[in-house]
């Protein structure tokens, strides 16, 4: 097929086809799939579409030719625009449409009858689209499936959902090619495995864009004193402001929404030149975010302070500087953020890293090293979620009767489910049918039942409706709108934050100081704030743990004093003092420092395994110390270390860190902890046991709602082997608790613990001791706090 019209159009525009774009065109063969790895903005998305455009030009059709799946709704809109313009320019009559949750019902219905040539959608909308009895007719002539930002989807539950939908599409249109588009990633073979239809990925050709010039990255340590602790990086606001002033447009990435709010405030406080600095994060209202994005496209902003809400997606050519404030937490993530500057020009991207404390200086340096050595980190592929499988099976049932064995074979074609056991599959089918409980009393209430002809069928259409209302794997916490009294909506905050507010409290949100007036239905009313110490909304899951790779980088930096020369002076001095007064942590060793301070004994372990693993370790160690009679009082965990304080001195430290703590101690703690309950809730929603709690839903005196915690408690007591509990334990082990990583640490350090008994706190321990008090008490400590609260109130006099 000729593609001269494409070459001509490129020429007319004064552009040239990139090598990887040409290669994508040449290697487009039915049955063969491509994985394109290119940095942000390398014409990656267009490269994915070029073969389809050429085919559709040669053979015009009125059916669906290419399906494009992206993780972001906004991206589908952007891609549609970026496709329609060139298509119109080339005078091609190829139809392109989006289909997402925002698409009107009427258009979605029409699309099922007469689909466009190219349909742009999200994993959730695709799951919906395949759940109709006539779905297969739409995909009959499908030739190509493009998955954008594959690296962001592959190892998530959304990726699981997508992979299952792909197996279904493969049944309907087995010759369709798959095209994966990914940013630079550490293990292309794993992405290829995700994309592939076969076990050994022999149908995948990997195409790599020529690497552009390495980015120019600089670590900036603010002129004022480098903080010992904290993650906000506000101390460097004047330096960041200077950088903004000397560049055209800067993107300033931070790690949490709270940090975004605070840094935005700090910058405006010193914004003497009235530079247009904007704020962008996921809690702001859609309108607000669109205004910022459009201003960015037009080039009318000097800087945007943003969270991961701008990690993916829309291209801004104008950005000439990326600033990362706070530790990057992972080198791949940092590289993707940096890639958002200067990417249309053949100049290197320019970036500044601003560490917020001393340890973060090390982390930034480690990230820099691993980018230059091309030693990237990334999520490994994981086993697919059983809850997602349950959802998929219900969707399949909605589309028509299915044969159990046949479906099992189909599901095993999805890469995350290649190792799925027949037993687990059967349990999930049983769950989808009637809950799958050991006590068989629900036979009468089957959602899906086995017909006489051996096929499974959905019991009634109400079930299909309920499925379609609940499709998706993102379980959001309930949020409340923030609205100015007699004014507009500013955005949304999580319910639990709103519940902690008392009228008169002030808080920072959407870049302004607000005063809380009250909650009305699902809206919290605010007025412009005055004085007071403001609270800052904090958000669940805002902070990612330090990646394994960066952790190694930090450890090897610490080990080699020769490599310190590039570090800021105060950091060098700090490490030298540590070397003199205690010792430095070595790569294959665990340094544990023990010292007395006041009346308490402190134990600080430098594990470098990330916050989540350290939290878990803290829970387990304190349990064990309790048993050993050391009387632990509390602990605090950072990405780098853990500190525990106790009434008595820990002496048998090797026993404390014995690997067997991952046995019974772990089991007992997990059973009691709220982590499992939180995880169970997500699993139960995704699996379709309980409905999503829709915003606007309010409890009434009638109490028809039920809580997932109560279900969890009862299920654990009476049916501990239930498939959803198992799915919960698997999720918890790799999510909040990071047990896998903890296990690796304990194995690595067996018999290799370097214990230092010190007279006083060591330089390296100062940052973590400063964190004490910032973290709250949990577990049984909560009940102790209740006792205190009750007592102090009683002593004040009860009045009744």
């Amino acid at each position: 097929m000729s593609h001269t019209f494409i070459e001509n159009w490129f020429k007319k525009k004064g552009w040239e086809l990139h090598d990887h774009q040409r290669e994508m065109i040449q290697s487009a063969t039915p049955g063969l799939s491509n994985l394109l790895i290119a940095p942000t903005g390398g014409g990656k998305t267009l490269a994915g579409f070029l073969p389809s455009i050429i085919e559709l030009n040669a053979h015009p059709s009125d059916s669906l030719h290419t399906l494009y799946v992206s993780p972001l709704k906004a991206l589908t809109v952007d891609v549609a625009r970026n496709l329609l313009n060139p298509l119109a320019d080339m005078k091609l009559s190829i139809t392109v449409e989006t289909r997402t949750g925002d698409t009107p019902q009427s258009r979605r219905q029409r699309q099922r009858k007469s689909p466009p040539n190219i349909l742009l959608t999200t994993p959730e909308s695709l799951a919906l689209l395949i759940s109709y009895p006539d779905s297969h007719t739409i995909f009959q002539k499908l030739q190509c499936i493009i998955i954008d930002e594959l690296h962001a989807l592959a190892s998530t539950k959304r990726g699981d959902l997508l992979s299952l939908a792909l197996t279904r599409l493969n049944r309907w249109s087995p010759t369709a090619r798959r095209v994966g588009l990914s940013a630079t990633i550490p293990a292309p073979n794993e992405m290829a495995a995700y994309l592939s239809k076969s076990k050994d990925s022999d149908d995948i050709k990997i195409i790599k864009a020529q690497s552009t010039k390495p980015p120019a990255i600089q670590i900036l340590v603010g002129k004022s004193r480098l903080p010992w602790s904290g993650h906000m990086g506000l101390y460097a606001a004047p330096d960041i402001y200077e950088a903004i002033q000397s560049h055209k447009t800067s993107l300033i990435f931070v790690n949490t929404r709270a940090q975004a709010e605070l840094l935005f405030q700090s910058l405006w406080r010193i914004n003497d030149n009235n530079l247009s600095i904007a704020l962008h994060h996921g809690s702001l209202s859609l309108d607000q975010r669109r205004i910022v994005e459009n201003a960015m496209v037009k080039g009318s902003l000097r800087a945007v302070v943003a969270t991961s809400s701008l990690d993916l997606g829309i291209d801004w050519a104008a950005v000439d500087l990326v600033v990362q404030v706070g530790a990057p937490k992972g080198a791949s993530r940092l590289l993707q953020r940096i890639g958002r500057s200067n990417h249309r020009l053949q100049e290197p991207s320019k970036a500044i890293l601003v560490p917020a404390n001393r340890f973060e200086v090390l982390e930034c340096q480690a990230a820099l090293n691993s980018i230059y050595n091309q030693n990237l980190d990334g999520d490994r592929l994981r086993e697919g979620g059983l809850d997602v499988l349950a959802q998929h099976i219900q969707g399949i049932a909605c589309s028509g009767p299915f044969d159990k064995h046949d479906l099992f074979l189909e599901v095993c074609n999805a890469s995350p489910y290649r190792n799925l056991s027949q037993a687990d599959f059967n349990s999930i089918v049983d769950f989808a049918c009637d809950g799958g409980y050991a006590l068989k009393t629900y036979d009468r209430y089957r959602r899906i039942y086995l017909k006489e002809d051996g096929l499974y069928q959905i019991a009634n259409t109400a079930i299909a409706q309920r499925y379609r209302m609940n499709v998706g794997t993102i379980v959001e916490s309930v949020t409340l709108k923030v609205k100015m009294r007699r004014g507009r909506v500013l955005g949304e905050v999580e319910e639990y934050f709103a519940q902690g507010l008392i009228p008169g409290d002030s808080f920072i949100f959407a870049g302004r100081l607000l005063q809380f007036e009250g909650i009305r239905e699902t809206t919290i009313e605010v007025t412009p704030g005055k004085g007071n110490i403001p609270k800052v909304p904090s958000y669940m899951g805002g902070r990612l743990p330090l990646s394994t790779n960066l952790a190694e980088g930090v450890r090897s930096l610490l080990e080699k004093p020769a490599s310190w020369r590039t570090l800021a002076l105060p950091v060098q001095e700090w490490l030298e003092k540590q070397n003199k007064l205690s010792t430095l942590p070595k790569c294959n060793q665990l340094l544990v420092e023990v010292f007395k301070r006041g009346k308490l004994f402190y134990l600080v372990a430098y594990c470098f395994e990330g916050r989540n693993a350290h939290q878990t370790l803290g829970m387990l160690l304190t349990r064990r110390m309790e048993r050993f009679g050391i009387q632990p009082l509390g602990f605090v965990a950072t990405d780098y270390a853990i500190a525990i304080w106790s009434r008595k001195q820990a002496s048998n430290i090797n026993d404390l860190f014995d690997e067997d703590m991952l046995g019974d101690d772990l089991e007992n703690w997990m059973a009691e902890s709220t982590i499992l309950k939180r995880t169970f809730k997500d699993v139960a929603v995704i699996a379709g046991l309980i409905d999503r709690r829709l915003p606007g839903h309010k409890k009434t005196g009638r109490q028809v709602t039920f809580s997932s915690d109560l279900i969890y408690d009862v299920l654990r007591k009476h049916d501990p082997n239930h498939i959803l509990l198992r799915a919960t334990r698997i999720d918890a082990a790799r999510g909040f608790t990071d047990i896998h990583r903890l296990g690796k640490l304990l194995r690595r350090i067996t018999t290799n613990i370097n214990i230092k008994f010190l007279e006083k706190v060591s330089p390296l321990a100062v940052p973590i001791l400063l964190e004490i008090g910032k973290e709250s008490v949990r577990g049984s400590g909560l009940e102790a706090l209740l006792d205190d609260a009750e007592e102090s109130l009683i002593s004040e006099g009860m009045g009744i």
Binding site: Y437, N460, I690, V714, D719, L793
Partner: protein, 222 residues
């Protein structure tokens, strides 16, 4: 266990959520909502089928600890009026056994207006045993000494930088509202107008935790 007085009668709020009237050797349960799980299963939402089993276990545990002669279940004992066709036989027999061995009163609730007729005991709209009145839903203007349920009260107590939420009793000099006892029963915050409207001036809550603790209104957050 927490001892307090209502209309000069000495009562005990138990950590389980049951109320004990020692002088009359009476145990009071509220909002058992038996067979709530199967009710949802019938709507194709298969909640676990163990709620009745679990609630019965806990009822028997309270009975064994306090050795009463009389039990009053103050309404919404069953999640709906059609539970009889769904409850497993062994659990039905356990309830029959209980109503045979104790003086058992079922107060009618909005979920179960016809009570537990087939399972023994006595079903009545409300019950008066001086100086206390037992009914399902609190009534404005009712005499002092009213004991009711229906609202499934829970409360949030403010602690230094976090909060603790749990089921609770809520009481003032006139009345007490019991927490729901059923295994699948959620709660409504006592600061919600639906509940607080019954407590004009001041009230205290008896919060369920590893033990029962009392807190004044001022310690609570919505």
């Amino acid at each position: 266990m927490f001892e307090f007085h209502l209309n000069k009668e000495s009562l005990i709020a138990d950590t389980s959520g049951a109320l004990i009237w020692p002088e009359k050797r009476t145990v009071v349960f509220s909002d058992l909502h038996l067979e709530k799980g199967s009710w949802f299963a019938k709507q194709n939402i298969p909640l676990p089928p163990y709620d009745t089993l679990d609630t019965l276990n806990r009822i028997e545990n309270v009975i064994n600890r306090f050795n009463p002669i009389r039990i009053i279940s103050i309404g919404d004992s069953f999640h709906d009026d059609n539970w009889i066709v769904r409850i497993p036989k062994d659990q039905r027999d356990r309830i029959l056994n209980l109503t045979n061995n104790y003086e058992w009163l079922w107060i009618e609730g909005n979920h179960d207006p016809s009570g537990a007729l087939p399972l023994g005991g006595i079903t009545i709209p409300y019950y008066f045993d001086a100086p206390l009145t037992f009914r399902h839903e609190a009534k404005k203007g009712s005499p002092i000494g009213e004991i009711s349920g229906h609202y499934h009260p829970k409360a949030r107590v403010r602690l230094s930088n976090k909060s603790f939420t749990s089921r609770c009793f809520i009481t003032d000099k006139k009345r007490i509202i019991l927490p729901a006892f059923g295994s699948f029963t959620g709660g409504l915050n006592v600061m919600d107008a639906a509940i607080s409207t019954f407590f004009k001036d001041d009230f205290k809550i008896l919060l369920l935790g590893s033990k029962v603790r009392q807190f004044p209104k001022t310690a609570l957050i919505p």
